[in-house]
Amino acid sequence: MFRRRPEAAPTLAIRVDGVAVPARAGESVAAAMLAAGLLRFRDAPAGGAPRGPYCMMGACFDCLVTIDGVGNRQACLETVREGMAVETQSGPRALAR
């Protein structure tokens, strides 16, 4: 669905659900995931429908993922870091973890 432009070649790697995903310094977690063909970021807490980024600018909250153990982070607003651990979410965030 999305392709990287030649000048946007990956420079580092994050992990999404334990799998290495290439990313480029300065881009958002959402951009890296979309470029890797990952479209399902979470299931909606009410109804369970699959969700992914919609606005890419912090307004819709549809891109929520768990980042380094903290749930409900907006993937479109978080900048990638080498070794960052991202998890897709299912259902409501558990505060206890």
């Binding site: 909250f61 903290v70 749930g71 965030r93 558990a94 505060l95 206890a96």
Partner: protein
């Protein structure tokens, strides 16, 4: 051109909607007149609690009225569900009031003890920390105990509001938006209400306009000494269920959002959010449940409760203009069942029961010193 009704209810919030729904049906023509979008809307300050514990000290009739409404709530929820298909998500798991210090616990126990002496049998009991933790495993180290009342419950107040309006219209009621009442004349046994969308004529009139009642009541020979009392509400993102019981100041909705509301402020008609107040509310919530420190707040707002001098409701029929009734309170959710199933039929029949006499605004008339 005038529209004629048997009953006109002024105020489309929770109180007005409950009374209008309860008074409609049986062939009665009922109108519900609502203000515009910029109305103050006390319903926005509501916390969706159907709450019994702690209420009524100083007025046993109010304790009884609250308990009666809470007892009628299961039937209200069932009736609304049956008529409208809307599940208002009522549940009565019992509610708690947490104490974050020994002094708070003692004050709470003393208050409830006085209430018990005034209005027995009072079903609240005090819990120590271990008993509290059995009901609410997520409490933090600062929680020393709680009061627990098995009669306390909660609902989804947005669904309640929608169900009352939908039920009212299914029963043949006429809802009119953007119809603030500018003037009321009483002549020839009927009320003529001036709105910018035309005149409404009705044999009976119910003033359920919240803070607006202060302006409207004198038009029909009544008094509504009410003032705004501000409350802040914070709402978190949806999180996995961790709270099986509602608290007086904190509850988790069916969808998983956590509502936090813990302020009573005298701020006039200012509905602005005070970040200092919001921060204090959040800090106390985190002391009660440390895991909330990780939750994101997604919405916060402030709204105005409708408060009388003693905090109790006013229900009264005008002596000067018979057929004009006043209804005002700050617990529109808890009292929705009593309003719909007890008060509304009395209004429709034209007389309040003698037992409601204590709720007359005449109690605020201070006799002149001898």
């Amino acid at each position: 051109m005038a529209d004629e009704f048997d009953i006109a209810v002024v105020g489309g919030g929770l109180v007005g909607a409950a009374l209008a729904w309860g008074a409609s049906g049986a062939g009665r023509r009922v109108a519900l007149l609502d203000e515009g979008d910029l109305a103050l809307r006390a319903a926005r300050a509501n916390f969706a609690l159907v709450w019994v514990q702690g209420k009524g000290l100083g007025l046993p009739d109010y304790a009884a009225w609250t308990a009666r409404s809470a007892a009628a709530w299961p039937d209200l929820a069932a009736a609304l569900g049956g008529e409208t298909g809307i599940d208002v998500r009522y549940g009565r798991p019992g509610g708690l009031h947490l104490a974050l210090s020994e002094a708070e616990l003692e004050r709470r126990a003393a208050w409830l003890g006085r209430l018990h002496n005034q209005s027995p049998p009072y079903t609240v009991r005090m819990l120590d920390r271990a008993e509290t933790a059995r009901l609410l495993p997520a409490i933090g180290p600062d929680v020393v105990g709680a009061s627990f009342c098995p009669d306390d419950g909660h609902c989804d107040s947005l669904r309640l509001f929608r169900a009352l309006h939908a039920g009212f219209q299914r029963r043949g009621g006429r809802y009119r938006a953007d119809s603030a009442v500018d003037g009321i004349r009483h002549a020839g046994g009927e009320f003529r209400l001036a709105t910018k969308r035309g005149e409404i004529r009705a044999a009976k009139l119910v003033l359920a306009a919240g803070l607006g009642n202060a302006r409207l009541a004198p038009m029909v020979g009544l008094a509504a000494p009410v003032r705004p009392q501000r409350g802040h509400i914070l709402v978190t993102e949806r999180v996995a269920p961790f709270l099986a019981h509602p608290l007086a100041t904190l509850r988790q909705t069916g969808e998983g959002s956590v509502m936090i509301g813990d302020s009573q402020e005298e701020a006039g008609f200012d509905t602005g959010v005070d970040t200092g107040v919001a921060a204090a509310i959040a800090a106390r919530a985190v002391r009660a449940f440390p895991l909330l420190a990780r939750a994101n707040v997604v919405r916060s707002w402030a709204a105005l409760r409708v408060m009388t001098g003693d905090g109790f409701p006013i229900y009264e029929q005008s002596a000067a203009c018979p057929g004009a009734f006043l209804a005002t309170c700050h617990s529109g959710v808890t009292l929705a069942a009593a309003h719909a199933t007890v008060l509304a039929p009395q209004i429709a029949a034209g007389a309040l029961a003698p037992e409601l006499g204590v709720f007359s605004a005449r109690r605020f008339d201070v006799p002149a010193a001898a």
